[in-house]
């Protein structure tokens, strides 16, 4: 009995490292959220920033804190705990590795954050050259990336130990998924590491005068698209492998879940050109090929949708639900651990549909660089992903701190998710419509000389400020819940739910764990998609650009 309890609980030493990640993540949420609120207020035209603070400074802070810091810290903390729970407690060496990674990332965050606050790095989170930040900003981001590699290595070490101790057996599903995401992250961040180390750092240090903008952007988007899947896959881990247990059902198919993760590893990287469809200097034939590869990623997403519907329907029918959609009503709507991620899942339907529009060459002409795109990733990252992360933290934080999710906090969690959903419907909805009317993204308030078209955008910008304000209330609520669960909730045992497959006889094929094969195909696809266009970009490069400081 004691043994069983020990197995289902994350070791307190591992719990401490996971919680350390969550403190930084939620700290970033607090500060980044405030910046987001200020942005929507500025863009409404009714508010000006005091003390000479620039719009692009808070935009950079919001993007870096939410898109890079909150996500990377939460994901690493969650995956570290998930591997500990399913593949066994981390060894002291793995735990030490994890701590080194955590401190490297934290140091990097402080370096970059300080430079943003000092107004030395208002280059937005995509840090597009030729905008030039202080070199400490780039060095800080390097620390965050290298730290995440070291942090991820801890998970890989524990996974490798499990494989060694259990030859011929498929690894635990959650550990497998965590390792896929970590491996994808390492392969993807090679691009951003290359542009920072070989281009942006030497250039910002004054060692070279100019930068090749197209190479820098291409390396950034080689990383930038898999970055969004790095955010999404931990949410999918929860949807595939944790939600079935929470609702009392079963995982529809363990093998299907693994296959979809492998497809994400293969197809989420060689697709960066779909962010550069309007960019001159890249051969359209290669843009076309990468758009096709982008569309391949729709397959695992639709597999996920099918699998989740099937899990819910099977569970509902086992509870006696009848009719075409009777199963929908019997789902546990009063359980925040389910309802909060469910709202995230539902949001992924319009989010995914928007993504297919963005990646289609012709439609990209309609929405490129408009605020539609901002609306899109506030549905994917800032609703689907983040609500799932909130839902995870409602059981994971008390599990790690030895506390209980109380009824009051459970209720507040559900209220928080609805507040978020309503705020986002206003903000992201208005962004989508304004984008279709041509409203630009990445821009402060302007009436553009009172042009008729720009004046049409203003009501949408006011709607975004209303939405942003509601969302900020949502951030206050989630911080209240987080602090309560971390420090004040009553002591007790909160379950770390891990789902079981419906058919236990169905053993996942061992080929899924053949890393040489999957990494080989990943590398082949990347080399295929990038080698020729990259040689072309270098050989036909325009003169390099000097740096600009526009703020």
């Amino acid at each position: 009995m004691v043994n069983t309890a020990a197995k289902v609980k994350v070791d307190p030493r591992d719990a401490k490292l996971s919680m350390a990640h969550f403190f930084v993540a939620f700290g970033a949420l607090a500060l980044g959220g405030l910046m987001g609120l200020l942005q929507t207020l500025v863009r409404s035209g009714k508010f000006e920033l005091p003390w000479g603070i620039g719009y692009y400074q808070i935009l950079t802070a919001h993007g870096v804190l939410m898109g890079l810091v909150l996500t990377t810290f939460f994901i690493m903390g969650f995956q570290y705990a998930a591997v500990s729970r399913t593949a066994g407690t981390h060894s002291p060496a793995a735990r030490r590795t994890g701590w080194i990674g955590f401190w490297l990332m934290t140091a990097g965050t402080l370096m970059s954050g300080t430079m943003i606050l000092l107004n030395e790095a208002s280059v937005l989170y995509t840090f597009y050259a030729p905008l030039k930040a202080h070199w400490i900003f780039y060095l800080g981001l390097t620390f965050v990336v290298v730290g995440s590699w070291v942090d991820g290595a801890a998970q890989i070490m524990t996974y490798a130990k499990w494989r060694k101790n259990n030859p011929g057996k498929p690894s635990p599903l959650l550990s497998f998924m965590a390792v896929i995401n970590t491996v994808m992250w390492i392969v993807a961040t090679l691009g951003v590491a290359a542009t920072v180390l070989f281009q942006l750092l030497p250039w910002s240090l004054g060692l070279v005068d100019t930068v090749d903008v197209l190479i820098s952007r291409t390396l950034f988007w080689y990383f930038g698209h898999p970055l969004v899947y790095f955010w999404l896959l931990p949410a999918y881990m929860c949807w595939y492998a944790i939600i079935p247990k929470i609702i009392g059902g079963k995982i529809f198919s363990d093998s299907l879940a693994r296959l979809s993760f492998i497809l994400f590893l293969l197809f989420s990287i060689p697709v960066g050109f779909h962010h550069q469809l309007t960019e001159p200097g890249i051969d359209p034939a290669w843009k076309f090929i990468q758009v096709i590869l982008t569309f391949m990623v729709i397959i695992p997403s639709l597999m996920t949708a099918f699998s989740l519907f099937a899990t819910f329907e099977r569970y509902g029918r086992s509870k006696g639900a009848t009719g075409l959609f009777g199963w929908f009503k019997v789902l546990p709507w009063n359980d925040a651990r389910f309802t909060v991620p469910f709202i995230g899942m539902a949001s992924f339907i319009p989010a995914g549909a928007g993504g297919i529009i963005n990646a289609s060459n012709q439609m990209d002409q309609v929405v490129h660089n408009t605020i539609w795109v901002t609306g899109h990733f506030h549905l994917t990252a800032a609703t689907s992903v983040v609500l799932t992360f909130f839902g995870i933290s409602y059981w994971l934080v008390p599990h790690l701190t030895g506390r209980k999710l109380t009824k009051a906090m459970n209720k507040l969690g559900i209220i928080q998710a609805w507040v978020w959903f309503i705020g986002m419907a206003f903000m992201s909805g208005a962004m989508h419509f304004q984008g279709l009317l041509g409203g630009p993204r990445r821009s402060a308030f302007s009436t553009y000389g009172d042009s008729k078209q720009a004046l049409e955008w203003i009501p949408y910008q006011i709607a975004q400020a209303v939405g942003g304000t509601i969302l900020f209330l949502g951030i206050i609520l989630v911080l209240v819940i987080f602090i309560n669960l971390a420090f004040f909730a009553p002591k007790g045992e909160e379950e770390f739910p891990v789902g079981e497959a419906e058919n236990l006889q169905e053993k996942a094929p061992m080929v899924f764990e053949n890393w040489k094969l999957w990494l080989g195909i990943t590398a082949a696809l990347i080399l295929f998609a990038y080698t020729i266009p990259f040689i072309d970009i270098i050989q036909n490069a325009p003169p390099g650009s000097k740096g600009f400081k526009t703020w």
Partner: protein, 49 residues
């Protein structure tokens, strides 16, 4: 007559508990939503360019 009725009812229940027709309907609705939104923006493109 009564026997036959009983048999039919029994068969329906078995079919229903493992049925995934709601899933099928859901994925069709999802697919339809994707197609409708894609075609709408496609028409915006055709209209403008």
């Amino acid at each position: 007559m009564a026997k036959a009725e009983l048999k039919t009812k029994h068969q329906t229940e078995i079919e229903d508990s493992s049925s995934l027709k709601g899933t099928l309907a859901s994925v069709f609705i999802l697919g339809l939503f994707i197609i409708v939104s894609w075609v709408s923006v496609y028409y915006l493109f055709v209209d403008r360019f």
